[in-house]
Symmetry: C2
Subunit: 334 residues, 2 copies
DNA sequence: CCTCCAGATGCAATCGATTGTAAATTTATT
DNA sequence: AATAAATTTACAATCGATTGCATCTGGAGG
């Protein structure tokens, strides 16, 4: 074995052609004859040669990578354990690799205001995906004015400048509440922190449904931001509520998961005494007892739409925002 | 405002110096006078100029990015919803950005054998972190022979070639079982699929503890690979076991979370009738009812160690594998 | 047998920053 | 004042691939 083939020049020498020909052969251009191309490709394979992505990126002015910005949790943990994000990342990774892009992951650093500008100026990626805009809508709009290839996951609001892809949280909330009403519930409790816009929209949906049902009322219980820490608040509500609710709409499955054992420990059966609906359709929601009725967001479709929009924008086209429909999954908890 | 400053040449012209000086000033080298450097830096700031990372990478032969390989789940979902990975990614992102590296995320594509080779040859990253080696130890060893900057999270086995960082699963398993024994349990059930090496080591630890206790026995119940799907198997075991176990060691918190409602629905109280220990110390384990006793892996420390090892290796130094100690967190479930 | 054309290949500039070394400038020394 | 020493700055090569344009080759057509 001779010395390692590092560059297309090495390979060109081996093949007895010029570097340009090697480059074209490996890129699959039709300017080289089929047989030469084949020979070069075989040679590259044999020597385990892959052209340097960095050099290519410099020349072609394309980065071959998409930046994905996610509110990743650590000890201080906000969404730290929400499986939703993990699933989303997985789906995005699939979509992006399929289209030949790498995935550059970034943490949001909340204490710096120019995090988005910095990302854009660093120019290491062809586009940006923002997962979980929460309350950054204004920041996104500001950047969206001058930077096209950026799409955000989450709520759609009238008047926003940036492009977003997400499910219709209002509709989802209404479906959940309506389902409880259809099952005969009349005193419905909403568990969740309405500060993030997505949650507020779900609450709005629930309000709309309840307002349309005779004799029904909605009790709104703001829980802690972090689902895991909200158990105490839920317990306090359950012990003080009089009369007790006969239906619960939890703004996320994680909250429902916290609530169910609390109900059980108070001798309340699900769905006998209280019916409960979650949101997200986490995998675990299917296997707990009783299996949880929930509103499902199709994450795979969402990820595909995100990437579609982004690629269109990378090509310079404008795209509108996408609002997907959520789906009611009925299980034993109602 | 004149036309956009895109390159150091543009900036050099503005500043009335050469590109080389700009480059050095921005890089903070001491070859340029302090005042010139300051002037250039101000100018760069004013024009929102950042030197191209791609060009720099090409010249310096450094990539400024670390590849993180994770078994990301999608629909077929294996670890799809395990919050452990999300937390790990978050911690790694912190450690890496702090040290000036980007995080390039990759999905494992299980059907291709050369996934690791491809990653290495693509040469887009300075090093690789493998999270969740599961059964790929041999593949890792093969690559480790020729590729230094790679560290894997997970189990350490005698004789492995590659560098790994992880907690002592044997010790963790023994601690969990010993804790149950100390609480007076004598018929202990182990719930978990022992195929992944990490789980097998936990089982081995549990065996060792039980073997050392008079009159105690260990019942090994292999559950489904995916924690979420294992409920049926656990139920089947609970209904057939005679006598019923008085202690349960779940190989992960997720499994314990599945098991607890099953126990409750059979009229078995925790910890009155059955004590139960989990593994991982997920955030939700603290807030369920009863709060779960568990074995905690310190993910933050693990992530820091992973990055430390990797950076040493990028500098060409050898490093040994690191085995961290797990910690028993006692809560109300035992 | 010569010209022409199309297809295949090579030349050389280019992407944007880094850096060894040479040149220019300033400061120190006698 | 003249030279040596030290400090700044500029020149130009380099990283490795891409690509417009020029060149070469071989066969068709006249």
């Amino acid at each position: 074995m001779s010395k390692k083939v590092r560059t297309i020049y090495d390979l060109a020498q081996l093949a007895g052609v010029s570097a340009a020909t090697v480059s074209r052969a490996l890129a699959g251009k039709d300017l080289v004859s089929a047989e030469t191309a084949e020979r070069i490709r075989k040679l590259a394979q044999a020597h385990g040669f892959r052209p340097s992505a960095v050099a290519r990126n410099l020349r072609t002015r394309r980065r071959g990578a998409i930046g994905v910005v996610i509110p990743l949790g650590h000890e201080r943990g906000q969404h730290i354990s929400d499986p939703f994000f993990m699933t989303m990342i997985g789906c995005l990774a699939d979509e992006l690799t399929e289209r030949g892009f790498d995935l550059l992951l970034s943490r949001v650093i909340p204490d710096r205001e120019d995090w988005l500008e910095a990302m854009v100026d660093a120019d290491r990626v062809d586009g940006l995906l923002i997962i979980g805009q929460s309350d950054q809508s204004a920041a996104l709009d500001a950047v969206a004015r001058r930077y096209l290839p950026m799409v955000a996951w989450g709520a759609f609001e009238q008047g926003q400048i940036h492009c977003s892809v997400g499910t219709d949280n209002f509709l989802g909330g209404r479906m959940a509440a309506q389902h409880l009403l259809d099952r005969g519930c009349r005193r419905i409790a909403f568990l969740g922190n309405p500060l993030p816009i997505e949650i507020r929209q779900r609450l709005d949906g629930a309000r709309a449904a309840v307002a349309g049902a005779a004799g029904a009322s909605l009790i709104e219980i703001p829980t802690h931001l972090t689902a895991e820490l909200s158990a105490a608040e839920i317990a306090a509500f359950l012990d003080s509520a009089d009369p007790r609710p006969d239906g619960i709409f939890a703004a996320s499955d994680l909250i429902a998961l916290n609530a169910i054992p609390l109900l059980a420990s108070r001798g309340l059966s699900v769905p006998g005494d209280v019916r409960i609906v979650g949101y997200d359709d986490l995998p675990i929601s299917r296997s707990i007892l009783p299996p949880l009725t929930t509103i499902r967001q199709d994450i795979a479709t969402g990820a595909a739409q995100l990437v579609d929009c982004l690629l269109k924008r990378i090509e310079g086209k404008q795209t509108g925002s996408v609002v997907l429909n959520p789906e009611l999954i009925v299980r034993a908890s109602t």
